[in-house]
């Protein structure tokens, strides 16, 4: 068996240089050694692959038309073998991806890993963040129930003040963006992100003497690979657990009349939705300020961060402004999200 495997390996190696590729991929030195803090990027890649697999399985049964989208999703949940689980995994996988993107970006920010010479990795990462949010937004409409329909309506209205009524064209376009354009963009940019990462090398820990860092420096394989695999398994199990605890249940089929249903976007846009309810953001200019100007400026600030913050200091405990800003943003997001949930009972 080993001889056959070796022959196949040698055959492929002779043609594409497998040994060199393997050495490049696996023998990447990690300054300061492997760490659990470095698993977020690998976990994101894993979640994306699982989203692609479950998404393809769902596409075997899903019909992207306003007449059949709801019925075909109901069919997946109730009739297709394990369809309910695959759909629920895909649903929670999208949330996991958003959470993981926040975790990954936070780790990079707190570790100061966006600083020179890693500015390009940070910039591509920001575009990937926007793509992940777009994935969630476009996928949410596809089941075509009241929740999906009104989340999209509210979401579009946040970005563009023109009221829309999602119809067949919206569904078709969202479907194409969700299953064709965004995956292609994400694959290309994730590849570029990894290429830049490998070119610049990992930033390593922000603390420790040169002697300590040198002593702990290790290759990517096996210890970091092991940690990545354990983290991916944990992420997989958490998504499965959520799929069991809260499986996808459709509401009534989408109609242009919300009826009893109070429209709101997906949970990861709730903080913005709640912020827009503040009086300061009322009126046309206020809505523009809250929905477009502030989030846009925030993204621009993040993009400019490596060029503004030129200090080589990476220790977060010696960067009080960075630590304070991160804490305020995170607490703000949590408080506004909880406020949006509490706000539901005042809507009747």
């Amino acid at each position: 068996m080993n001889a056959i495997f070796q022959k196949v390996y040698d055959f492929v190696d002779e043609r594409i240089g497998l040994k060199t590729l393997e050495a490049k991929l696996m023998n990447e030195p990690i300054k300061g050694g492997s760490r659990w803090a470095y698993v977020f990027g690998s976990c994101l890649l894993f979640i994306f692959i699982m989203q692609a697999i479950t998404g393809m399985l769902l596409m075997f049964y899903y019909i992207p038309s306003a007449d059949h989208a709801y019925a075909s999703t109901q069919f997946i949940i109730h009739e297709v073998d394990y369809g309910w689980f695959i759909l629920s995994y895909h649903f929670w996988g999208s949330s996991a991806m958003v959470v993981m993107v926040f975790a990954h970006m936070s780790q990079v920010f707190l570790w100061g890993a966006y600083k020179k010479p890693r500015e390009m990795i940070w910039l591509v990462g920001l575009v990937l963040f926007v793509i992940v949010m777009a994935f969630g937004f476009t996928g949410y409409l596809l089941p075509w129930d009241q929740r999906a329909y009104w989340a999209t309506t509210v979401g579009v209205e946040i970005m563009d003040k023109t009221p829309i009524v999602p119809g067949q064209m919206t569904l078709s376009r969202f479907f194409v963006i969700h299953v064709m354009i965004l995956p292609a963009a994400l694959m290309g940019l994730a590849g570029l992100h990894l290429f830049f990462f490998r070119s610049a090398g990992p930033a390593g820990p922000f603390r420790g003497t040169t002697e300590e860092l040198k002593a702990k420096t290790d290759f990517f394989f096996p210890r970091q690979v092991w940690k990545d695999i354990v983290a991916m398994a944990a992420v997989f199990m958490i998504i499965c657990t959520l799929a069991f605890i809260e499986p996808v249940q459709l509401l009534e089929q989408a109609t242009p009349d919300p009826g009893e249903y109070h429209p709101e976007p997906e949970w990861y846009f709730l903080f913005l939705f709640q912020m827009l309810r503040w009086k300061i953001f009322s009126g046309e200019f206020g809505q523009f300020l809250g929905a477009i100007a502030i989030p846009g400026l925030f993204l621009l600030l993040l993009a400019a961060l490596p060029f503004i913050d030129r200090s080589p200091e990476r220790n977060i405990f010696k960067r009080p402004i960075a630590l304070l800003s991160w804490t305020v943003v995170m607490i703000g997001i949590v408080v506004l999200t909880v406020s949006a949930i509490l706000n539901r009972e005042f809507l009747d």
Partner: protein
Amino acid sequence: MAHPVENLSSIKLAWAVAWSAFWTGFPFKLIVALLLLAGQVHPWEGAGLVTLLVVSIPIDIWAVGLTARTVFLERLSMEIRGPVGVSLWWQGAVLGALVLGGAYYAVGTTVAVGQKVAAAIIALIKKFYPALPIAEQITLELLLWTIPTAIVLLVFVLLWLHLFGWRVKRVVVASGQTSSASFVERVRQWDYARVPADPTLVLVSFAGVIVTLTVVFWVLLPVTTPTPHPDYPLQQVQKASKPVKPEELINKTEATLKKAEAVLAALEKEKSRETTKGKSK
């Protein structure tokens, strides 16, 4: 001369052990919880909860022992004689139960008082500014009672860490001995304690465990949804039945019968012709 461990902060030491131990044991507990869920047993109540708690005890003892050893080796250059997992676990559990009891009462009281105070402050603001919008009111009220609650909770967490750290230090003083290994050797030692040294063993064992668990998982997993929505169930599409027209049906049947009779007569005729031919031969 004071033992080197006394120079370390109890809270930092306890945090290093407890945080790592939590994440070390977490994936194993998750496997148990997931298999229970696949078998439609809730791990947060009844038999499921008991199973999870019982399984968690040996996992936690192992995780605390492992992480404590590596923390001592890394931060204090000390090796510990004998098993420390059981000793640290029961002390942590007793302290945890005591602190949790106190925290339950204190946090509950803080929430109740905080909400009352927040409501009073909001009422006062509304006196001067009656048009206070609901969205601002909710966020303000939330901040007013969650900030003191978070502080009280943090105090109890720090209290538990301080007490646990104090017990961890006692264990180190009682059974720790300074390691003679160099820094580089110690790095390898604690790294190998957490991650298997043999890469092939890592991959093969992991693949084996994953395959086994996957098979068990899919065997237990319900084929169709165990939780259909009570208000919006699957709408069974009924096939539209054609209206029955008796005259048309009789005519159609008669025509089919006539056709069949004609075919039968033709077949019989052919058969009798073949029989006559055979006799004449």
